[in-house]
Symmetry: C2
Subunit: 341 residues, 2 copies
DNA sequence: CTGAAAGCGCTTACAG
DNA sequence: CTGAAAGCGCTTACAG
C-alpha cells in the first residue's frame, strides 16, 4: 500500500502539501495540486482512515444499535438511517442487540472503541440504566430512536425521535368503540419498553375518556415472546362468557402470539373476534385475515434520528430535541362489523 | 481519556510493560502486573483500538454486506453471522446495499478503509465484476454468502456458502407433478443472481428429467420488483385457456408480485391455482393462503460463512471451500389437491 | 505559497 | 525480567 510519503516524494512536495491538497484545507498552487493528484493516481494511494482518525476529532462514522434489524419496523428505520447517513457523507456501523442488554452493551462499547462520532440507539427492554450514563461520560452525541427515555429533569435531556403513540391509540380506541366494542383485550407486552408503555397508558386514557371500564383481566402485559403471549392470551378466550370482542396488540410479535391463540380457540377474525395491531406484518395485503394496523413512519424516524445527530454535532450545547412523528392507521376488515368474515 | 503513558507513570513502569501486561505477550512479575492493573483501574484506562490497529495486522473486526437485512432470509443470515462473530471475539460491521451496486461498492470501500480482517458478501444482482477483483487486490479474505460466484477456473476460487438449490427445486417439481400439475409457471426473477439462476436451471433440469415440456411463455424471468412481477404475471393468468395450474416463485419478493396478480385475477389458492415459493413470508402459519415454502437454513448459512472466514484467516493458502447446505420444504395447503380452498 | 517537525497512542524489535 | 526508542500514517501548528 502506498503511503502519503510515497505520494509526496513522487510529486516532489512535502506530506503537508499532499495532506492539504487531499483535504482542501489550504490553498495550493494549481500546478502543484496537479502534480500531487497525478502522484496519487500513479501510486494508487488511498488515505488511511485509521491514521487520519487518530489525529482528528472525527471519524465521519456513526453507530446504530437496534434490538432487531429483522423486524419490519426496525428494518425500515435502519434504511432511513442508512440513507441519511450516506447522504451526509457518514459511514454507518450497524449492530443488532437481539433484545439482549448484554449484547447491547457490548455493541455500544465496540462502537465507542471505534470512535464513532455519534450513536443512535433503539434500546432493548431491559437496557441497563448505566448505558446512557456511560455514553454521556464519553461525551458522545446520542439520539434515542423509537424507544425513548423517561429521564428525570436534572439528569439532562437526550435527543429523541419517536411516534405519537397516544394519538394513534386514541384513534384506534375511537374506531373500535364506534363499532360497538366494549370489551377490548389489550396485549401490551413489556412495559419497560417506552413505546409499549405509552401505548398502554394511551389505551387506558382513551378508554377513560370514553367513560369505559378497563377491567384488569383485559390488560395482558409483560410477555416478551410470541409463545408466552400465546400462553397468556389463550385462556382469556377459552370461554364465551366474559370473552373480549376485540383484541388490540401493541407490536408485531405480540400480534403473532395473540393471533395464534385466536386461531387455536377456533375463533375467526373478524367474524367472532375483531383484531388490530401496531406495526403489523409485511405483505399483509396479500393474506387473510386483513388486519387493521398502525403503521409508523419508520423510514422517516431513521432519517430524523440522523438529522438530530447532525444538529447535535454542530451545536453540542443546544437544548435537547424531542421529535414525535405521526403514525398512520390502515383500517382493514379485521375491525369491520359489516364484513361477513 | 487516560492514555498508556498515564498508566505507565502511575504504575512506575514503562509503556512496554503496560502493553505486555494488557496483551499477555511476555512474562511480567506478578507484583508488577498487579501495579499495572490497579493503575489501569485507577485511571479508567481503555486501550485505543485505532492506535492499536495501526500497529497490528488485525483489527479483530469483520465486515458483512447484504442486499437487504430486512428481508427475512437475510435477517436470519445476519443473526447467524453476528452470533458466530461475537462467539469468536470479532466485532461486526454491517452494511446494507439495498440491491444497489453503487451502494454495495461504497459499503465495501468503507469496510476496507476500516481495515476489517475479512469480508462476507451477499452480493446484489448487478454487482460489478470489479468488486471481487478489488477485494482480491487488497488481499482481504472474502466469503460469498447465499449468492455465489461463477468464477472461471484460473481466476482463483473464492470461499462460498449457499444452499443446494437444485435439490430443493427437484423436490418441489416432484411434488407439483405428483399432484398432476403439468403447466407450471416459474417466476424466477433476475438471473444474474446466482441463487435465482440455479433455481431456474434446476427447474428446467427437473422438468426435463420428468419428460415434461417447459414452454417459454411459462418462464417469467428478469423482474426485480414486486410491481414489475405483478405486471408480467397478470396477463399470463388473464384467460383460462393456456393458464398455468401452478405458480412457483423463486423468492419472497417474486412471490408477493405473483400472488398479487393471482388475486387481481380473482383466482383462489389453491382452489384455482397452486402456489409455492422459495424463502416465503414470516408468520405465514397465521395467514391464508398457507403457502408451500422452501426454507433456507439461513442462520446456519451465516454461521458457516464466519467459519469459512476464520479458516481462511488461519490458512490463507488453503484451497477454497464451497459449502452447500440443504433447504427444508414446508408443504402446505397451497399445493394440496385435496383442499377445498 | 510551502516545508520541517512534532505528535496522536499504541506495539515491538533491540538491548541489557 | 524490564525499558528506551523507533515507527505505524496521518494532521497541524509553526516558521519562513
Amino acid at each position: 500500500m502506498a503511503t502519503m510519503v510515497d505520494v509526496a516524494s513522487l510529486a516532489g512536495v512535502s506530506t503537508s502539501t499532499v495532506s492539504h491538497v487531499l483535504n482542501e484545507t489550504r490553498h495550493v498552487e494549481p500546478e502543484t495540486k496537479e502534480r500531487v493528484m497525478s502522484a496519487v493516481k500513479a501510486t494508487g494511494y488511498r488515505r488511511d482512515v485509521l491514521a487520519r482518525s487518530m489525529r482528528r476529532a472525527r471519524t465521519d462514522s456513526i453507530g446504530l444499535v437496534v434490538s432487531d434489524a429483522g423486524e419490519p419496523a426496525f428494518a425500515d428505520m435502519v434504511h432511513g438511517v442508512e440513507e441519511a447517513a450516506a447522504h451526509n457523507g457518514l459511514s454507518l456501523l450497524l449492530a443488532n442487540s437481539a433484545e439482549d442488554p448484554a449484547r447491547e452493551r457490548a455493541a455500544v462499547e465496540a462502537l465507542l472503541d471505534r470512535r464513532v462520532d455519534g450513536l443512535i440507539l433503539a434500546r432493548v427492554a431491559g437496557s441497563t440504566a448505566g448505558l446512557l450514563e456511560r455514553i454521556r461520560k464519553e461525551k458522545k452525541p446520542l439520539v434515542l430512536l423509537d424507544r425513548l427515555a423517561d429521564l428525570g429533569g436534572d439528569q439532562g435531556q437526550v435527543d429523541q425521535v419517536g411516534v405519537n403513540n397516544q394519538a394513534a391509540m386514541a384513534a384506534l380506541v375511537d374506531h373500535l368503540t364506534s363499532q360497538g366494542h366494549e370489551r377490548i383485550l389489550l396485549v401490551s407486552g413489556d412495559l419497560r419498553v417506552s413505546s409499549l408503555r405509552e401505548r398502554y397508558d394511551g389505551f387506558r386514557a382513551a378508554m377513560l375518556t370514553k367513560g369505559m371500564a378497563v377491567p384488569p383481566e383485559l390488560l395482558c402485559e409483560g410477555t416478551v415472546t410470541a409463545a408466552a403471549t400465546f400462553d397468556r392470551v389463550r385462556p382469556l378466550l377459552a370461554t364465551a362468557s366474559g370473552r373480549p370482542t376485540a383484541i388490540l396488540a401493541c407490536s408485531t410479535l405480540l400480534a403473532a402470539g395473540a393471533l395464534r391463540a385466536v386461531q387455536h380457540e377456533g375463533l375467526r377474525v373478524p367474524g367472532s373476534m375483531a383484531f388490530a395491531t401496531f406495526d403489523g406484518f409485511t405483505y399483509s395485503d396479500l393474506f387473510q385475515p386483513q388486519i387493521t394496523t398502525v403503521r409508523q413512519p419508520a423510514f422517516q424516524l431513521g432519517e430524523s434520528a440522523v438529522s438530530l445527530l447532525l444538529q447535535r454535532l454542530e451545536n453540542p450545547a443546544a437544548p435537547a430535541t424531542i421529535l414525535r412523528l405521526e403514525s398512520r392507521i390502515e383500517f382493514r376488515r379485521s375491525t369491520s362489523n359489516s364484513s361477513t368474515d
